[in-house]
């Protein structure tokens, strides 16, 4: 009899899961991508450790920059969406403040704890012997550019979600694929060559590359023009498009009365 009850629970959860159109498909995809990420990490990093040490000082230093910055990237990507969370948005819109004040105010704390986490990663890594060779201006520039690009993409993503009220492909593409292809855990050059093309279309790849050059090899901006110029241009274009889509989507929701809907 109890088995029947458990079957009931299983049935209702499974049906609910299926009700979300993309859930099943992306769950499968996420599982596969996640499994590949760790398989590559475990296999190829040991094979190419010497090259990594030559280029970045140590694998730990390489990894810490990737992981810490990944958090900042994720926060930036999610920030525009969090700022217009339907639970709060209507109330925030009633405050006599400009939209940008509401958005920045809504995400400030997340950045503060993001910076704290970023610094903690570094402190612990140093305790474990990681070495950093930092050029402060290049580092700050890489962080600012990275945050700007991801904010732009985050605004596009949030804009899509405000309108569709469903899962959006932009966030998934950037977060899930980013873990495997952009070089968070291992250099993307270790991937089979056809897969490296995916890495080359992800903005995180360039941001992380620039950050590692700034933080592990103290390269000044003058030596990184090959990455700096495309990133500045991308940031300008993506932020402009993102801002436009974001504002239009909020206007759209206000016109249709869907501001408070999930």
């Amino acid at each position: 009899m109890q088995a029947k009850r458990f079957l009931g629970f299983l049935y209702i959860d499974f049906k609910e899961w299926l009700a979300y159109n993309y859930e099943l498909f992306f769950w499968l995809l996420n599982t596969v991508v996640g499994a590949f990420t760790y398989a590559f990490l475990g296999t190829y990093v040991t094979l190419y450790e010497k090259e990594l040490i030559v280029k970045y000082g140590s694998f730990l230093s390489f990894l810490i920059v990737g992981m810490a910055y990944n958090y900042i990237i994720y926060t930036s990507l999610m920030a525009p969406r969090m700022a217009i969370n339907p639970w709060n948005l209507m109330w925030r819109l009633l405050i006599p403040a400009r939209l940008y004040e509401i958005i920045i105010g809504s995400v400030l704390f997340r950045y503060l704890i993001g910076i704290f986490q970023f610094l903690t990663y570094f402190a612990v890594a140093i305790l474990f012997g990681a070495k950093f060779n930092i050029d402060p201006i290049s580092t700050l520039t890489a962080i600012i550019l990275g945050v700007a690009v991801m904010w732009g993409l985050g605004m596009i993503s949030a804009g899509i979600q405000v309108i569709t009220k469903r899962w959006d492909p932009v966030t998934w593409f950037l977060t899930m694929l980013g873990e495997l292809f952009s070089g968070v855990w291992f250099p993307y050059q270790l991937l089979p060559e056809p897969l490296q093309y995916i890495s080359l279309i992800l903005p995180q790849t360039y941001i992380l590359e620039m950050l590692r050059r700034a933080m592990l090899r103290a390269e000044p901006l003058t030596l990184m023009m090959d990455q700096l110029i495309p990133l500045v241009l991308s940031a300008l274009i993506i932020v402009s498009i993102g801002y436009f889509i974001y504002m239009k989507s909020i206007e759209y929701a206000k016109e249709r009365g869907t501001v408070g809907e999930y």
Binding site: W87, M90, W91, I95, P96, K254, E255, G257
Partner: protein, 275 residues
């Protein structure tokens, strides 16, 4: 209401609150209004105390002396001090509604918008709430814009009522003038209620009504409702006498008082007085 509170953009036309355009001058509108929405739980941190939740809004509104102002409004809505430091999620439904009301009153608004403020609340809170609305939350100059299906609240607190049907305003009147919109035959009828044992005699009485100046009548179970010319009390009394003379046991006899609920229902059904 969402358009007036700047949350929704109208498809067409324009709207102004206190002279400010809700689209072009939305910030000016927001500075001067307070809102209690239908789902008032939104915008509150569930693991923040009542006081902390309001303090956030006090800062967001750039109010001077935010802590003092929060205390003032919490007292104004009569949320007992012992509940100020309780997590939002641990407050009762009535307390949550008081807190939402406090949030609406926080910027000391000139206009307060209240959307279904008494829905699902206990009668004790509703009674207190009516009292608060009647005294306009301590400021006689304040305008209260209230949307509700609670018709008793309408009758007891409203100065003017707008009746909206299918998105269109079908009437705007002071409450006491609304009744004039209902046809006079409905407003001026008399009701004779008889003992159930006398129901058959009541039917005999009906056949004799033609002898009197009775314009219209209807029998519903043991109740006779009738209309006399110009609402004449004398003629109505003749009907009563006739009933007694016919050995009808009368329970009650009165002029029908039409309540706000019936007025609104009849207006919505289109039974509007042409005069």
């Amino acid at each position: 209401m969402k358009i007036l509170t700047t949350v929704l953009i109208p498809d067409s036309g324009e709207a102004k609150v206190l002279g400010y355009d809700v689209i072009k001058e939305s910030l000016e509108v927001r500075k001067r209004i307070g809102v209690l929405p239908e789902d008032s739980r939104r915008g509150f941190g569930w693991r923040l105390t009542a006081f902390e939740n309001l303090l956030f809004y006090a800062y967001a509104y750039l109010l001077p002396n935010p802590k003092e102002r929060v205390k003032e409004v919490l007292k104004l809505v009569k949320l007992e001090e012992e509940h100020w430091d309780k997590w939002y999620q641990r407050l009762s439904q009535g307390m949550k509604q008081k807190l939402a009301l406090a949030r609406a009153l926080l910027p000391n608004p000139s206009v307060v918008f209240l959307d279904e403020p008494t829905k699902g609340l206990d009668i004790m809170f509703v009674a207190k709430f009516r009292e608060m609305v009647r005294n306009k939350f301590g400021d006689e100059d304040r305008t209260i814009f209230l949307s509700t299906h609670d018709l008793r609240l309408v009758e007891e607190t409203y100065d003017r009522v707008a009746i909206i049907n299918k998105g269109k305003i079908v009437a705007i009147k002071p409450v006491n003038e609304l009744k004039n919109l209902v046809p006079s035959n409905i407003r001026n009828s008399y009701v004779l209620e008889v003992d159930p044992k006398s129901t058959s005699r009541l039917n005999d009485l009906v056949s004799k009504l033609k002898e009197l100046d009775v314009g219209w009548y209807q029998v519903d179970n043991h109740e006779l409702e009738f209309l006399v010319k110009d609402g004449s009390l004398e003629v109505a009394n003749e009907v009563l006498k006739m009933a007694i003379n016919n050995n009808v046991l009368v329970h009650s006899f009165h002029k029908k008082e039409i309540d706000i609920e019936e007025v609104i229902m009849r207006i919505l059904r289109g039974e509007k007085n042409a005069s």
